[in-house]
Symmetry: C2
Subunit: 194 residues, 2 copies
Amino acid sequence: MKEIKSIAALAARFSTLPGVGQKTALRYAYAVIDMTEDQVDAFCAALKEVKSSVKLCSVCGNFTDSDVCDICASRSAKKICVVSYPKDIAAIEKSGAFDGVYHVLHGTLSPMDNRTPDDLNIKSLLSRLSGVDEVIVATNPDVEGEATAVYLARLIKPLGVPVSRIAQGISMGSELEYADAVTLSQALYRRTSL
Amino acid sequence: MKEIKSIAALAARFSTLPGVGQKTALRYAYAVIDMTEDQVDAFCAALKEVKSSVKLCSVCGNFTDSDVCDICASRSAKKICVVSYPKDIAAIEKSGAFDGVYHVLHGTLSPMDNRTPDDLNIKSLLSRLSGVDEVIVATNPDVEGEATAVYLARLIKPLGVPVSRIAQGISMGSELEYADAVTLSQALYRRTSL
């Protein structure tokens, strides 16, 4: 069957979304055919609205639809949690375990991908440090995230601000049997007394 | 964190797509933020293009962007394969095992959901039967699909056209151990000699 051009074109658009393969993209495109014209118009409007209204917080780099994000506007800036991407903020906020402000690097250091400190949102972090009690680095526990954390610590500690790193270990609810060797050795090395 | 309105609105749109939950919808919305304005415009254009260009083939009811679909326009109408939805055609075409034409019912009979024969694309099927050698009913092997198949057979056979049903049995590559009881009993009952 010759594919219908417009369906194939829409499926190609859907397949640019994260984790969407050809089959899923085609399924989404078929679903659009079943939508009413009003629904399609509303979909378009929502797409354009996100693109036009969402910008970066001028203080921390998080997504916001005003100049300063809600978190920066409403919380004490005594503790700054540094993350790689805005979506990491959503994850930490969900945990409810942090009541300070954030700083979004918009990436990690990666010599392989030619991402140097100049490519990250680091300068504005340094300008926020006066009066700060602690900087918590919450980049991912992988090679790039670790390298970024070490780099930030070397940069910030000399300025007299304590820098900490989120703990590594066995995830709650996971099974030792299936933990990878590095995680397990980290969990042993960083054991806490009971 | 207070959610950004436009992101939540877009996520709500994405979650109307089949199989997309809240978390995935939010992930898609974040991905849209990272798109360029041109990409978002192209996405919108593709959405609207599908809605405006895709219509139903006047012969078989399949999706098409002209009056008659490619399959109806190019193939012999000696064998008609009846399916519930256009996406079923895509699946059968992929198998390469059928070279006749199709007829799309756009649904199945369902007393529970108040779908009667009048709600399905059946009348135009009956008007296509002159000169047809066989009607193959390829509705899903579930209660509604079976009921629809039986109904069509009763309707069409008296007109002198043979009606057949796609075979049921164990799927290729699946394991007997995990087959459900109905499938297994059908597979035994419909066994073929070697």
